[in-house]
Symmetry: C2
Subunit: 141 residues, 2 copies
DNA sequence: GTCCGTGCAAAGGATTTGCATAATC
DNA sequence: GATTATGCAAATCCTTTGCACGGAC
């Protein structure tokens, strides 16, 4: 029988990456985290709390590999630090609460279509896009 | 009669800022630049080419004051460095060419309305938003 | 003359990189 | 055993800050 770790391990192999403990643990956190969007520091803290730290250099390297492999998406919202989330191939956009930092996801097909249209109007070959709303979430109001 | 510099000088005063040479020169470049979105380094190079350099520290400070005063808008597209553009109070979004780095502006009222609607649906008090399309511009295709 | 602005150099945070060691296949 | 990953520390990039001097009002 396949343990949870075996499955994660296969995910890594399918992505063309060797299955190592730091990679497995990082992927596991990204999959199971209650909060979907994590910073490098979030991951670092989480890993350290599991009583076995992973160096920052490794976290950066692993995340970068995950992004290249398409396992993870990197976001650069406002501020300096990047945020990472699992890539589940379902595109969505974000609302970021300026008070508590919470990130809410949403998806609006009409907006998606209009974006494509605007790009076409400018003969712009769109490869990707990012839409982020900044404001105050309902719990912080 | 008012020279161009006098007008810029008044703009600064209206924004509550003393009129100094570095500020005037930076504002002038932002107003007259062929390219609308400039990085700190772009400004630094431009200022240096005018045979009188302005220190990076000052450029950062001045831009930050301009942003606070509402004269300028700061964008954090992908990559690390921020881009600055004059605030003409007309909101617009951006397309960024991944090859040549050109930034194209656009504005779509329908998208704007839909964004507001999505925010309302989530009881999210939207204060600002940013929409950026990434791809290849028509000249680079 | 007082107050604010600037330059310089040092500090800061996020991220990357070189190299020796350790793990995976 | 060969190849790839990791940790550590140093380096890099962008940006901010402390302090002494110079300019604006």
């Amino acid at each position: 029988m396949m343990t949870e770790m075996d499955i994660l391990s296969e995910d890594l192999n399918n992505a063309g990456l060797r299955s190592t403990l730091p990679r497995l643990r990082i992927l596991k956190i990204l999959e199971e985290s209650r909060v979907r969007h994590l910073s490098v520091e979030d991951l670092y803290d989480e890993l350290r709390q599991e009583n076995q730290a992973v160096s920052l250099a490794t976290i950066y390297r692993v995340l970068s590999q995950f992004v290249d492999a398409g396992l993870v998406v990197r976001h650069q919202f406002e501020g300096n630090k990047a945020m990472y989330e699992l890539n589940d191939d379902e595109h969505h956009d974000h609302m970021v609460c300026l008070k508590c930092g919470t990130v809410i996801e949403f998806m609006d097909q009409k907006i998606e279509v209009l974006q494509k249209q605007v790009a076409d109007d400018h003969e712009f070959e769109m490869q990707d896009h990012s839409l982020t709303l900044f404001g105050i979430c309902k719990f912080c109001q």
